[in-house]
Every structure is written in C-alpha cells, then in structure tokens.
Amino acid sequence: MRSETVLNMEGISKSFPGVRALHNVDFTLRKGEIHALMGENGAGKSTLIKVLTGVYEKDAGQSILDGKPVHFRSPQEALSMGIGTVFQEIALCPNLTVAENMFIGRSRSRFVQWKEMNAKAEEMLSSLGIPASPTQELSSCSIAVQQMVSIARAIDMDCKILILDEPTSSLDEDEVQKLFALMRELKARGVGIIFITHFIDQVYEISDTITVLRNGELIGEYQTSKLPQIELISKMMGKALSDVSAIEKQEKSKSARSVPVFEATGLSSAAGVRPFDFTIEKGEVNGFAGLLGSGRSESVRAIFAADKVTGGEVKVNGKRVKLKTPLHAMKKGIGYLPEDRKRDGIIGELSVRDNIILALQVMKGFFRPLSRKQAEEFAVEYIQKLGIKTPSIDTPIESLSGGNQQKVVLARWLLTNPMYLILDEPTRGIDVGTKVEIQKLVLKLAEDGMSLTFISSEIDEMLRVCTRLIVMKDREIVGELSGMSLTEQDTMQMIAQGGK
C-alpha cells in the first residue's frame, strides 16, 4: 500500500564537539507522505534536517534522493534539487523586502527583475493569504508573518520534498489550518513532507507516519493511526509521562488571599494597548488569554516597562512607584521572560553560564561581579533543574537546540528569584515532557509565594496553571474568568466573542 520512496537516509551520524547529535539514524520519506519527525529537545531533529540540506557536513551515512546518492553543500543546492526547507529559526534578512526574501539566492540571472519578482511574490502571498506587501521591508512584519513568508519561500510548486522544522510555533489556529490545507494540497500532488513540531495534536491531525528520535538515535518508524499518543510520548521520553492530571492547582480560599504585590491602574504603553487595570496577589498565577496579536504580550511588556510606558499608576507592594525601564522593574522584583527569545532573550555568542547569570548580574550591578565559582554553581543547579541539554556550561548558547535555548532563558529568571515573574510563552518549542515539568515548577513557585503571570497559546496549558484568566481582544481587556467559569469552552467563547 505504501507508495514509492523519494528520500532515503541511511546510517547518518553527526557529532559536534562534546555532543553526539546523531548516531546511525535511518529515515525514509515516501511520495505524498506527511512524515512527522518527533523527539525531545536536543534529540537531533533539526540536525538531521541540516545534514540533509547541506548546512552541516555529515560524519557518516548517505542520502539517496530518487534512487541516486546525493550530497548537498548548501541549502541552495538542495533547493535546486527540489528540497524546500523552512528552518526552525526564521532565517530571513530583516533589511530586505518581503519579495526579495522569497526569491534571493534562487535566481540564476545576474540582474534583479524587480517588477517581475514583486508580481510573482504578490501572487504567492495572496494565494497563501499572507497579509504582507511584496515591497515591504521584512523587519516591519510580525513574527507570524515572517514565519509565513519563510514558508512561502520554501514552497516551490515543483518541489519534491518540503521540510518544515517547527513552522507552527508562532502561528495561531487559523494560520495553522491554512498551512495544513496547503500541506494537504502538496501531498495530493505527491510531494513528500517532513514535519517537525512539539504539538502532539497537530501531528495526529496531519501526519501519516511518525519517526521518533531520542538522544540522537532512531527509536523507530510508526504509522500515526496505529500509535497511541501515550505510547508516542513514552517513546520520545524513554519513560512514561508523569501524569498531567496529577497537577493540582492550589485554589486559594478567599480568606487566605494575601496582599496584592502589583497593582496597575490605567496602564498604557507606546506599543498601543488600551489603558488597563491589573492586579496580582502574592502566590497567585494568572494569565492573559487571547489570540496572537490581541495585545497579551504588549500588556505584560507594559507591566515590565519593556515598551515605553505612556500612562497609568503602578503600585508595588502597596507603594506607588514609577517603573520607567526594565531595570527599574527588575530592581522592584519583577522578572520577565520575553516571547521572542531571539531578539530579546539570548546573547548568542555568550556561554550557557553567562546567559544564565545575566539577569542576576545586571541586578547586582556590574561592579560587584559574581564570583566564578558562584556563577558556576548557579548554572549547574539550573541546568539540572530544567534538564538543559548542553555539553558544558561554557558552550555558546547558539549551539544548543531551539528548545534548550528557551530553557536557558527561563533559568535566568528563576535564578533572580523575583517576587513577581512574567512568563510569555515559556513553553514554546519545548517538548511535552519538559512542558509538564515547567507547569509543575510554576505551581511550585506559586506555592512558595511567588506571583506569576503565564501566557501561552495553548489554552489547556493556561487552564492547568492559572487560577484567573484575563481575556484580551483587539488590544483591550474584554473580560476575566476565574473559579467555576474557568473552562476551555468559556475561555474560547470569550476570546471569540469578546466579552459577554
């Protein structure tokens, strides 16, 4: 019943200094198949893709495309042989236009035909429903649009293979559906698609086959319909997932409620959120729910003064304060894990250790440096706590897998032990096992008296940890849910309708 093979990778091995990223991995892709590549953070998924497309040189093994051994030296060569790739980290040039980003590096002609290129780009953008103009500079597009543009670039209508490495991490539900429709269309045309994601539901919705990697080794290839979710997860983790239902929110009784630690009235920022009121109490976990672009991130950025605050009053521990910069906020005991780790979060060339102690160092002031030994202890402690996979604490954070970079940024804030911690999409790109660990950690921290604001695109995750949800739409707070009405259905309804 299986159709013919288009790609066969055999015995692939690849090591980096101190890490064996892939060891003797086989992978087969057939025509018209959507093949999910699954594994924990650092399992080697992205590395496998990069070896195939010529970003990395493999140590051993071979790739056979359409029966012929191939060896690509660059993603460009792979593309010219019909392999389109969307890499995990958006790899586009922010200073070029949208159209250029779709076509640069592909044309053989020595000159740029701007008119023709813009027309072609326009056509593709509108057929994919991407609201960007071809002549717009890419840096002026949102992350979601940038991600769609990089997908548009990879979809060459006559490609044989399309590779999508976590393409859905910054897309919302509608956009994901649009992408899936497109994938189904390509599948019908016989294109083989490799799909990497940490969203288990999406895998079951779209894929035919699943290949699982663990610690750089092949665990097996399975048909999606015949592999129950529980089994998939335990194959990825090498052990059973600790029971999610065991997570028990601490529903505080009214009387036990303590003082508010942070209060804001009429807060607004240059990023364009409507003035809003907001309060969080000691030991409370609340969350901002809403679609991407509804103003969730902008609201918390205003709280942390990450965007220029344009109005409103803020009280910390009941005392009026003026928070003008993130440093002020940090000094008052507020921490913030940003949504866009590439822009605000990591400093690529610095080591894992330096990235972890960064915030603590800033708060202590640069003239009172942490001792090396202290820094090392902190780093090691949190690497273990969060299960960060890194060859050593001196490894530059750039060479960690996407999910592990995210964990480092999280560790940085936990280390400062803030009184109030804001987490914007802390689990994006993080594997299921660690997701649960992080959720547990959040509840544990709250129990110990920390207040947290938690934002996630996955509503069930928010419902699991938050005792109160603030729902946003069009940059405005439209309602609040807590107690009995804190259910998936009510939340969805409020997000869709914008209040009752």
């Binding site: 586009l92 200073n95 070029l96 592909r106 717009q136 979601a144 672009g293």
Partner: protein, 362 residues
Amino acid sequence: MRSLNTTRSKTRLSNSNLLFIIAGVIFVLMYGFALISYPGSFMQFQTFFDLFNLNAALFIITLGLCVVMIAGGIDISVGAVCGLVTMACALLLESPMGSILGALLLALAIGTAFGVMHGFLIAYLEIQPFIITLGGMFLAQGLLTTLHKDPINVTMPAFVALRNYTIEIPWLGTVNRLGYFIPSEIKPGVIVVVVLVILYAVLMKWSRFGRNVYAIGGNSQSARMLGINVKRTRFFSYVICGLTAGISGFVFLMTTGAGNIGNGALFEMKAIASNVIGGILLNGGVGNLLGAPIGTLTLLTINELIRAAGVQSNLQAIVSGLLLYIFIVLQSIVMALRGNERFRLTLPPWLKPQDKEVENQG
C-alpha cells in the same frame, strides 16, 4: 487570521531610504545655510563644482567603502592605497616608459591586489576586517615611503595636458563684476565620479551581487541559509573597494599632478564619516549608495563653511568630529524609534567583543 491582519501591511519607507532622505534633507539645509551666510562664494556655481573638482578622489573612495560598509565590513586601508597609487603612477609616468594607459593599469592593479588580499583574508580566513585592513594600511604606507620620499611632479606632457583639461559648461556660469560671463568648469575626474556613482548605484540596486551584499550585511547567518554564497560576496565587496581605491589614486594624481607621501592621508576616515553622514549604517545592511556622495558633499560643505568663516583650520576637524557624533546618535534614535527595538548604538560587528562566526544555530 486576525493576528496577521493586525499587522501593518501598508508599505512603509525602508530604513535605507529613510536615512537617505534624512541625509539629503540635511545636505540641502546645510547648503541653504551656506548660501544665506556666504552668498558671495556659495552663490557661484563654480564653488559647487569645485567641491567635486578638488575632491573627486574622496568621492570615489567613499563609493567603494560604501559597498564594503553595506556588506557589514570596513576597510581603513583605502586612503593609504590611494596615496601609494599616486606615487607609483607618478614614478611610472616620469620614467622613460611612462604612458597614461600604463599608469592607469598600474593604479587598477595595485588597488585590486590590495582588495583581493583583504577579501581573501577577511572572507575566507574569517579574520577581523578592522585588523586586516589596518595591516593593509601600514603596508601601503610603508611601500609609499619606500618608493620615494620626496614629492614628484609629473611633467610628462600628455599627462599635464590631461590634468589641465577642463570642460566648460557654456550655459551655467557667473557674470563677473566687469560684466563678463565666466562659464563653469569641471575636471575630467568629475566625469569619473559621475560614471562610478551611476555604475555602483545600478550595481547595488539591480544586480544579484548588490542584493547579496545587502543580505549579508543584514544577517550573514540568514543569508547563508537563504542560499547566498556569503564568502564570495564578502570577498568581492573588498575587491571592489580596493579597485575603487586604485581608481581614486589615479584621479588624485590627475587633480594635483604630483606624487607625495601625504597624498590620501586620512581619506579613510573622511570616507567613513561621509558614509555615516550619508545614512550608511556602520553595522551593515542599511544604506542607499547615493548616500555616499551626499554624505561627502555634506562633509565638504561644512569644511567650506568653516573656511569661509575664516577661523582656524583645526576647527574643521573638531567640527567634523562633533558632527559625526551627532549623526551616529541621530541614526540610532531614528532606528530605535521605528523598530520596536530598544535604543542602542548601532555598533558594527567588528567593534563588538568576540564576534566569531559560529557555524550555526540550533
């Protein structure tokens, strides 16, 4: 879909063009101010043309450097290379086998040799451009003084003819006190400037190479993933810069007619300043090539203004320095205001600590 729609899909001005327009406006204001303050000299067309006549070499150097700066690099050897070329060409022209064509070829060869060397070391061996071109600067200066210590006046008749050749513009000029119409004059070097400006502007806007230069300047890591040969593009940006420095040396000789160890001194700094004023960001990827001549004009106008004011000439340097501060800060503010990026100085990668090209990200 909503989240996508909330983003602006209206095309707004690109950063390059915005900075270019700002540079243009500043130049116009500056020149307007000069016209009002010193109408006697600035009202004459000849004063404007003389900016080009006397500084053609600087205009040319700035163009080449602009390409490298857009690619995210720097070349501080250009001034010394220009000086070396003037001396080498002067020696050749004064020797029995001297010919203009020979001198021109020599100029191109010296420039290209430096460009190829720098390009190779920087692009393929991945060494810091600042250090490499600093070495190139010392090398060129050393060669220059080794060649000849004293000034050499070129007396070869054909070259003197070329040097003295002027092109009159009959329909543009000034009427002097006696009522005579004096047409404006331009030198052949200006033609070279104009041709190169057009050529390079086309190269940067319409050629595949030019767009690749922008891409690697914007984000070399991404450019590589997009299938651009980053090393080759970077290599050729330095070759072009070196070649242009060679041309500028020849044009310099055409302007002054003498080889001299002081020729081209500090041109690299003036060229960097001109580019920055012209809206070419030091950290690469942003800038319009036409900003290079605009920036040079602005810098020269300021110097002329100070001269017209009759104050000491060391004030020129002071004012140029202060101006550079202002421009860099201004650019940073403009960039910070548009992006939602935090305010930070737009420092180039070669000034940041330990900027190594790490093989790749996860």
